[in-house]
Symmetry: C2
Subunit: 378 residues, 2 copies
């Protein structure tokens, strides 16, 4: 039995991770989880899994939880996430938190010797170099859970990185893939949340529509696989069946395909190096591919520039995008303003090389706060 921790257990990836655990009860022991704001969902989870430690968002209903689950230890908020990450039992920590909040708990978990199954892109986008250094220092494993990175990881099985010519991440194109840039000025939040292929959280669904998601994935892939940006490409593939391809130097391409079901990459990371049996399989039909259109998706081009420059810029880009998406989801800005905010924020920022973890976290806070204030004033 492997010990499992889940940060963000009530979110989209978190719930699907819980499903994988339910389907494989004899393989895993769920030790600790962090929950969200829906008490109903929280109770459903706690009634099903007997965990040792639970992190709640805030202390408002702490007494109720403590009375109902006397055998569980409860911790609260950001400091609670750290205590969860540092809990002194070895295991795999699934980081399914959304946004920059995922970075600190990842670092804490690595320092306490846990392996990481990473769905939180921001961890590597903001602090890839530092996290890779810590992974090496504490000799833990870092497994990707993103479908694209899981696909690439699987294709790299048994292959040498020196034989890789380039890796290719596929992009469905998101909710607005059939709209021109002109048409984007009219789109609504409801439109943006209708992803054609995947059921995902709101943030990542918007990031799919702006292609920022693919930009974050490119930076994540750079840190995960140790490849320079000119060996990382993206391609439009509207069926979302092929998740990643690797071109080898000898002319061979290997690809990984599956249905759009996050339980597949989640289970792959948790069971690694084994594969668990799962009944949902892809029916192979026609697959289409189109070159990426950087004019149509300027945030993806920005991500390449930002990734190459490094330093604090990926944090700045991510922070600006994170708050801009929040503003869009609360109807405070239009869809195209997301792009404007991210691009202008990055362009104005004076970068520094090799920032510390504290500088990264402070910059993230600072950028998000600054943009929030600017747009609240309006």
């Amino acid at each position: 039995m492997k010990n499992i921790y889940i940060l963000g257990a009530a979110g989209s990836i978190g719930r699907q991770t819980l499903e994988v655990l339910k389907e494989n009860q004899n393989a895993f022991h769920l030790i600790g989880i962090s929950l969200g704001n829906s008490h109903q969902l929280n109770h459903e989870i706690l009634n099903h899994f007997s965990v040792e430690l639970v992190c709640l968002r805030d202390s408002s209903n702490l007494r109720d939880y403590e009375n109902k689950y006397p055998n569980i230890k409860f911790v609260i908020g950001d400091s609670g996430l750290i205590r969860l990450a540092e809990y002194p039992k070895p295991g795999i920590l699934v980081n399914a938190l959304s946004g920059s909040a995922g970075l600190k708990p990842t670092v804490a978990a690595i320092r306490s010797g846990k392996d990481i199954a990473l769905a939180n892109k921001e961890t590597l986008v903001m602090a890839g170099e530092i996290v890779n250094q810590l992974v090496k220092e504490y000799q833990v494993k870092l497994y990707p859970i993103d479908s694209e990175h899981s696909a690439l990881w699987q294709v790299l099985n048994g292959e040498e990185l020196s034989s890789v010519k380039k890796i290719v991440i596929t992009a469905s194109g998101g909710a607005f893939r059939n709209l021109s840039r002109e048409a984007l000025s009219q789109v609504t939040k409801k439109d943006a949340l209708m992803h054609p292929n995947w059921q995902m959280g709101d943030k990542i669904t918007i990031d799919s529509a702006t292609m920022m998601n693919k930009g974050l994935e490119v930076i994540e892939a750079h840190h995960l696989f140790g490849l320079p940006y000119d060996q990382i490409e993206t391609i439009l593939h509207q069926e979302s069946m092929v998740h990643g391809l690797i071109y080898f130097i000898d002319g061979t391409i290997k690809a990984s395909l599956s249905i759009s079901d996050m339980k597949i990459p989640i289970a792959y990371a948790l069971f690694y190096p084994e594969r668990r049996a799962y009944e949902r399989h892809l029916e192979l039909t026609n697959l289409s591919f189109k070159p990426m259109d950087f004019q149509r998706f300027p945030l993806l081009e920005l991500a390449y520039q930002v990734g190459k420059k490094g330093g604090l810029l990926p944090t700045v880009m991510n922070a600006a995008n994170e708050i801009a998406v929040k503003l869009f989801l609360t109807d405070q800005i239009s869809f195209l303003e997301i792009e404007n905010i991210v691009i202008q924020t990055v362009n104005k920022f004076k970068n520094i090389d090799h920032p510390s973890l504290d500088q990264i976290i402070e910059t993230d806070d600072y950028i998000q706060e600054m943009i929030r204030k600017t747009y609240e004033k309006r």
Copy 2:
């Protein structure tokens, strides 16, 4: 430097193997080759490569060759192929012979401790169990050169066979893929030799059009990968870009793609476990897949039945097909008669289990001779 032997160096696969050697002169030392009937081609090869041993088809021009190449030892015919296979220097023997003639030299090479890079499907179709036993006994390696089997082998890199749900071999559909069975009664030899995607030898091009080729590949895959027939499927894929796919038990599919260029699988086998740099890469475009049509291609269905029954039946099917294709290529029978001859011959044959190598070779001779005589009489 790896020592290389090539059986069938003047054939399609043989010449492409020689090109790989030319492009990588410092990696390989060509020791011995067997040549064909074109003296011009033979001299071109011998002028370029300084080999130690050459097998000629017959002795008619032996003196000329011996005078022109005093440093080369010449051997002749079938016995010469065996002497080549047994030549006492270790190395990889590329078996690019066409047809059942490939079996005996493969066995001789294994017994003399050579690794085998196998383009000759018949070796495994006729004697898969015996050859696998010998490979184990003499602790040599057996690498596939067929594009489909190379693709599957590459996809299996770093994976466990126990995680495989099924393997899928792609089929372009051959020269007549757009014709109904009715239209097949009208086709000519010239039509049949026009393969839409691959430049190959005549025999395999006809086998593509009848789908016998895919049947032989299914049986070959069974022996190469040790999978039962119900875990081996075929799929129509007219672009010939994806050569093989593996469905894993967890819902993941991994595929291997490349342009239609046999130098890629040849180089993969010769350089294994490394990959050599090669400049020809696939431009990813749309890929289409259709379920295999067994009514349309009865020889493929026959191959599954024959493979499952085993014994001498695969040899009988292969022998009947081999002579039938020869009769078609010499304008003695029509295209659809190939199928009839193969099906009737298999249906009439009384099978035995676990035949010896001698029984296999005798049966191959007997079936080919019997059919040849029957159709010569007409």
